[in-house]
């Protein structure tokens, strides 16, 4: 078992869910496939989907909902 960290490709505000009332994209323990959406980053009034660039199980979500994130910041840790 290894681990992989999904990082942000853009700066902005990180969201766990597609809309305030919706379920989060992923929670701890969820399994994700490569290409699955794990969150949103809002920047310049547009929402950019954060996609898993590896498959695995979510071991940790490293940022709070609505945290401001920078490029390259660790967002979600996977056990692969």
């Amino acid at each position: 078992m290894g681990s992989h960290t999904i990082t942000s490709r853009t700066p902005g505000v990180f969201y766990h869910r597609p809309s305030p009332d919706a379920e989060p994209y992923v929670t701890q323990g969820a399994s994700v496939s490569e290409g699955d959406t794990v969150g949103l980053v809002e920047v310049m009034k547009t929402f950019h989907e954060v996609k898993a660039d590896a498959a695995g199980t979510v071991s940790k979500i490293l940022v709070e909902n609505e945290d401001e994130v920078t490029i390259g910041q660790d967002l979600v840790e996977l056990e692969t």
Binding site: T7, R9, T10, P11, G12, M44, K45, T46, I71
Partner: protein, 323 residues
Amino acid sequence: MSVIVKDPGLETTVQDTGRLGYYSIGFPPSGALDSFAYHVGNALVGNEPGAAALEAVYLGPTLEFTQDTVIAVTGAEIPAFIDGEEIPIWESVAVSSGSVLSFGQLRAGARPYVAVAGGIDVPLYYGSRSTYTLVGIGGFEGRALRAGDELAIGSEARDPRAGRRVDPGDVPEHPATAEVHLLVGLHSYRLTPESLERFTGTDWKVTPDANRVGYRFRGAELEFVPREQPFGAGSDPANVTDCGYPVGSVQVPGGVEPIVLLQDAVTGGGYATLGTVVSVDRAKLAQTKTGDKVRFVPVDLDGALAVRQERLAALDRIRSALA
């Protein structure tokens, strides 16, 4: 001869020197935000100075070329690849038909530019090929690029040649705190003297609300001098009788989050403006991203003109060296 958009990036648009001459009817200039990177890109690929190029932000696009040509990537510090092989930026590079340009993760700056020999050939709209997305005009169908778009390339490159290279000393740096020069004035008297000092003394953080229209900052609160509002201005102390906004002017709606208006901004309105960023320094602002810091350095008119002359002279020198 064309470029096929495989992946558009975040918001990639066609831009040139801008749509000048229609400000008085409400058209902002649009055009490349980092005019330095844009002009140097054209010089690298041997284009005439006003040829249209692509401006991306944060995420570079993935582009396929349908014919042999020469390209150059300038602006932000970002790894660029042709068919997976890293290529130098601030340097003209030959690409062959079928080649794909892609980008890695941005290291510094915010906006990469892609210049192509011959320029991006979209129709002129009010004298410019620049995209102005707010009303959907100019550029490619008046909007940011989408996957599957096919952009024509102009055939009139003056002198396309690979291997032209900008002297490393001339490549702009992207410091942790960008300094831009500000000519204080316009309605600066509406702010208390302490607030004006606070404005130039603060390292302002770029918020996520930072795009071609304008940059919104966070970092301090500013206070207006209380007054009885003049007729026509409306009741909010941040308001003045509606007037024209210079490109690059700074306004503070509500006193909390100053906004610098950029090339796609509104041309006028009723917010008090406290000064204007010197035109050549908008290029520096364009390379700051959400989370970066910006400091406004006050200058007088002579100082502003000196900054302008110095920057334009440097561009002339670089162009001559690349010719």
